[in-house]
C-alpha cells in the first residue's frame, strides 16, 4: 500500500515537473491549482477553524483528497493564524478574530515605512526592520523594551518554528497518505511589491515613483539578495517544487509600461534568474491583468516558470504570447466554478483542451485559485472533463527530475546580524571544533533574519 502511494506521488510529481518544463506528459494535470480555497471549506469547517486548528486543516485536506482522488496536487490554506497573533501582526484581518468566522482573511493597506527611510532600508536593513518597521507592524512591540515586547519576539520566533512544523506535517500527510505533491514551497515577493505592499503602501509607492525614483530603484535592487536567500531558506530542499511568487503591481493599469519596465521588472528579473541559476523553478501568480506586461516572461530560460493567469486576462492570448516559454495555469473563470453549471465547466474544459492546452504546458485552474464557494458538482465536472479531454499519450511516463547540482557562487549568502567572526572574538577563540559551533550559530542567525523579513506582507 505504502509503495503504491509512493509510486502515485512520484507519478504526479513527475507529471507536474514535466508540465512546468514544457516537456511531453501522459495527460494534463488535474486540480493543479496553487491555492485550493474550495478544499479548505469543502469538509464543512469554518475558515477560522482551518486557520487556527491544524488538525481540522489536515482533516479538511484529507477529506478533499479522499473525495477527489484524481487530483494531482493539493495546497489549501495559507497560514497558521496563531503566528499573527503571537506578535500582533497588523497587515491582516482574520476570520473569527476581527472578521466573521466564515469570511476570507484580508490584507490591510497602509504606510509602514516612511518616505525618508529609503537610505536606512538600503544601507542597514536590520536596523530599519528592528527599529522602525517592525514596531509599526507588530502591535506587541509597541512598548519598546517592555517585558511584553521581549515576550513577543520569543513567541513570534517559537510560532515561526511551530508553523514550519505545521507545514511539514501537512505536506507529509498529503504525501504519505494520499500521494499528493505540493504545488509550491517557499515564497518570494517581487522587490517592487515588497515596497508597494507592506512597506510604503500603494499611496506611498505611487508618490515615490515621481518624487524619489532613484531611491526606489536603489531599494528594489538592495532587496534582491535577502529576498532570494530567504526564499531559498523556505523552499523545498530537493528543489522538487517551484517557489511561489504572488505578483501584484505588475497588474495593468497600475503602472505605465515605462514605469513597469523601469521600476518593476529589472529587480524581479534579476531575483528570478538567481533562483533559476540555483536550480529552482518558480510559480508566479500574475494577479489582475498582466496582458501589456507579460511579454517579459519570454526573457527567461524556457521551461523554468509557471505563470497563473487571473480572471481578467485571456489564457488563449497568454498561450500565444508567452506559452512557448513558460507553462500557464488558469482559463476557467472563478464565477463559472461558483454559479456556473457542470455542463458549462465541461464545455470550457473541452474547448481549452482542444485549443490552448492541446500541446501541453497548460494547467486548467480558476483565476489564481479555486474559489471558496465553488459548487462541488462543478469541481467534479472539472476533474472528470480534464481527465477525459486532457489526455496526451497512453505510453509516456515522465520521471521525477534529479536534484539539480548546487550552483557555485551565485546564490546570495543569507544575511546574519552578528557574524561568526564577531562572536568568535567575543569568545576569545574556541578550544574544540570551531565548525560545530559556527554552523549552528550561523543557521540560527540566518533564520532570525528571515524572521524579520517574514513580516514583509
Amino acid at each position: 500500500m505504502q509503495d503504491e502511494i509512493q509510486q502515485l506521488f512520484e507519478e504526479r510529481l513527475a507529471r507536474y515537473q514535466a508540465t512546468i518544463a514544457l516537456e511531453p506528459t501522459d495527460r494534463m494535470i488535474v486540480g493543479g491549482t496553487g491555492s485550493n480555497y474550495f478544499a479548505e471549506v469543502y469538509a464543512g469547517y469554518t475558515r477560522q477553524e482551518i486557520m487556527y486548528d491544524i488538525n481540522k486543516w489536515m482533516a479538511a485536506e484529507s477529506k478533499f483528497a479522499e473525495d477527489f482522488p484524481e487530483i494531482d496536487l493539493l495546497r489549501s490554506g495559507r497560514i497558521w493564524a496563531p503566528i499573527f497573533d503571537s506578535v500582533g501582526f497588523k497587515l491582516y484581518r482574520l476570520p473569527g478574530r476581527d472578521l466573521p468566522k466564515d469570511t476570507d482573511f484580508q490584507f490591510v493597506e497602509g504606510e509602514w515605512m516612511k518616505a525618508d527611510e529609503y537610505d536606512l532600508l538600503i544601507n542597514n536593513p536590520v536596523e530599519f526592520l528592528i527599529e522602525h518597521r517592525l514596531p509599526r507592524v507588530l502591535g506587541e512591540l509597541k512598548e519598546r523594551g517592555s517585558a511584553r515586547s521581549y515576550m513577543a519576539f520569543l513567541k513570534g520566533g517559537m510560532a515561526y518554528m511551530l508553523m514550519a512544523q505545521v507545514m511539514r506535517e501537512r505536506a507529509l500527510n498529503l504525501e504519505k497518505k494520499h500521494g499528493l505533491p505540493q504545488p509550491f514551497q517557499g515564497v518570494m515577493l517581487a522587490p517592487f511589491d515588497t515596497l508597494a505592499d507592506g512597506y510604503r503602501g500603494l499611496q506611498g509607492i505611487m508618490i515615490d515613483l515621481f518624487e524619489r525614483p532613484d531611491k526606489l530603484l536603489e531599494a528594489c535592487d538592495a532587496l534582491i539578495p535577502d529576498s532570494v536567500s530567504c526564499a531559498i531558506a523556505t523552499a523545498n530542499p530537493l528543489k522538487q517544487y517551484p517557489i511561489f511568487m504572488p505578483l501584484h503591481r505588475g497588474n495593468h493599469p497600475f503602472l505605465s509600461p515605462k514605469q513597469f519596465d523601469t521600476f518593476y521588472w529589472p529587480s524581479l528579473f534579476k531575483a528570478i534568474m538567481l533562483l533559476i541559476e540555483a536550480g529552482y523553478t518558480v510559480r508566479a501568480y500574475l494577479e489582475g491583468d498582466w496582458t501589456p506586461n507579460w511579454h517579459h516572461w519570454n526573457e527567461f530560460p524556457r521551461g523554468k516558470i509557471i505563470c497563473d493567469i487571473d480572471n481578467k486576462a485571456d489564457i488563449s492570448r497568454a498561450k500565444k504570447e508567452i506559452g512557448n516559454n513558460v507553462c500557464l495555469a488558469g482559463g476557467i473563470l472563478d464565477r463559472m466554478f461558483i454559479f456556473g453549471t457542470p455542463e458549462e465547466i465541461r464545455s470550457r474544459v473541452k474547448e481549452l483542451c482542444e485549443t490552448a492546452g492541446r500541446d501541453g504546458g497548460l494547467i486548467l485552474n480558476g483565476g489564481c485559485g479555486i474559489p471558496y464557494s465553488t459548487k462541488p458538482e462543478n469541481f467534479r465536472a472539472y476533474v472528470n472533463a480534464t481527465l477525459e479531454y486532457g489526455k496526451y499519450s497512453d505510453t509516456l511516463r515522465p520521471k521525477v527530475k534529479k536534484v539539480p547540482p548546487p550552483s557555485v557562487g551565485k546564490i546570495p549568502s543569507p544575511r546574519v546580524i552578528t557574524p561568526w567572526e564577531v562572536k568568535l572574538r567575543e569568545f576569545g577563540g574556541v578550544m574544540g571544533d570551531e565548525t560545530l559551533i559556527k554552523g549552528v550559530w550561523e543557521t540560527l542567525e540566518q533564520r532570525a533574519f528571515c524572521w524579520l523579513r517574514f513580516w514583509d506582507w
Binding site: 466573521p100 484580508q106 493597506e109 505611487m206 515621481f210 505605465s256 480572471n311 472563478d334 464565477r335 454559479f339
Partner: protein, 211 residues
C-alpha cells in the same frame, strides 16, 4: 476641451513644484481660492480623460490626486464657509460587506469626482442596510458596488434584494465592478450594469444621469 490654464496644465504634467509656485503666486495676487480650485479641477478632468484613453495609468491618476489634495489642504483655511461639494449628480459607492478592498473603488471615486459627480464613498465592508439608509437619505439614483473577492457575489445579490425588499429598487440603478465580476455576475446579482473598469463605471453614471 478648452485650452488649459498654466495651472491646470502643470497639474496634468504632474509637476508639483510648478503647481505650488503658480498657486502661491495667484494667492499673492489676491486670486480667490475658489478660482484656483476651478482651474485645478479642469486639470483633474484632463487627467481623467488621459486615464480613460490609456495615456495615463493609476500611478499618474493617484499622483495627480496627491498634488491636488496637498493644494486643498493649503487652501482650506482660506475658503471660509464656502462648500465646494454642493453641486453635481450624486453617486453612492462602497465595497460590500465581507470585503475590505478599496483600491479599485477609490479609483472610481477619483474619476467620478474629476468628472463632476458628487460622490458619497461609504468605504469598505458596508452592510446592505447602510447602503439603503444612505440612498433614502440622499435620494441618489446610482449605487456602485465594488468587490475584489469572489465571495462578495452573494453579498452584492443581497444588497440588490434588500433594495427590492425596502421598496427602493425601482428608484436606483445598481452598477457592479471589481476584479472577479463580469456580465454573468451582473445577471446573478441582479444589478443593472456591469462596469468592466473604472472608466466604464464613470461612463455608465453619465449615461444614467443623461450627461
Amino acid at each position: 476641451m478648452a485650452q488649459l490654464t498654466d495651472l491646470a496644465q502643470a497639474l496634468v504634467d504632474l509637476e508639483k513644484d510648478r503647481v505650488n509656485a503658480i498657486v502661491e503666486d495667484k494667492l499673492k495676487r489676491g486670486i480667490l481660492p475658489l478660482e484656483i480650485v476651478k482651474e485645478l479641477n479642469d486639470g483633474m478632468i484632463e487627467v481623467g480623460e488621459r486615464f480613460a484613453s490609456c495615456e495615463y495609468f493609476i500611478s499618474e491618476l493617484m499622483y495627480s490626486s496627491h498634488i491636488m489634495k496637498e493644494i486643498l489642504v493649503r487652501l482650506e483655511p482660506l475658503f471660509g464657509q464656502t462648500d465646494l461639494r454642493e453641486s453635481g449628480n450624486m453617486v453612492i459607492i462602497g465595497t460590500v460587506k465581507g470585503d475590505i478592498h478599496d483600491i479599485g473603488k477609490n479609483i472610481v471615486v477619483t474619476l467620478l469626482k474629476n468628472a463632476g459627480f458628487r460622490v458619497t464613498d461609504m468605504g469598505i465592508d458596508v452592510p446592505a442596510e447602510r447602503f439603503v439608509e444612505k440612498l433614502k437619505e440622499t435620494g441618489a439614483k446610482v449605487l456602485g458596488l465594488s468587490c475584489l473577492l469572489n465571495v462578495a457575489f452573494q453579498e452584492m445579490r443581497n444588497v440588490v434584494d434588500t433594495l427590492t425588499r425596502t421598496g427602493i429598487r425601482d428608484h436606483v440603478k445598481v452598477i457592479i465592478g471589481g476584479q472577479p465580476t463580469d456580465e454573468k455576475v451582473r445577471e446573478y446579482v441582479g444589478a443593472d450594469y456591469y462596469a468592466s473598469d473604472a472608466v466604464a463605471g464613470v461612463k455608465i453614471c453619465k449615461e444614467i444621469y443623461g450627461q
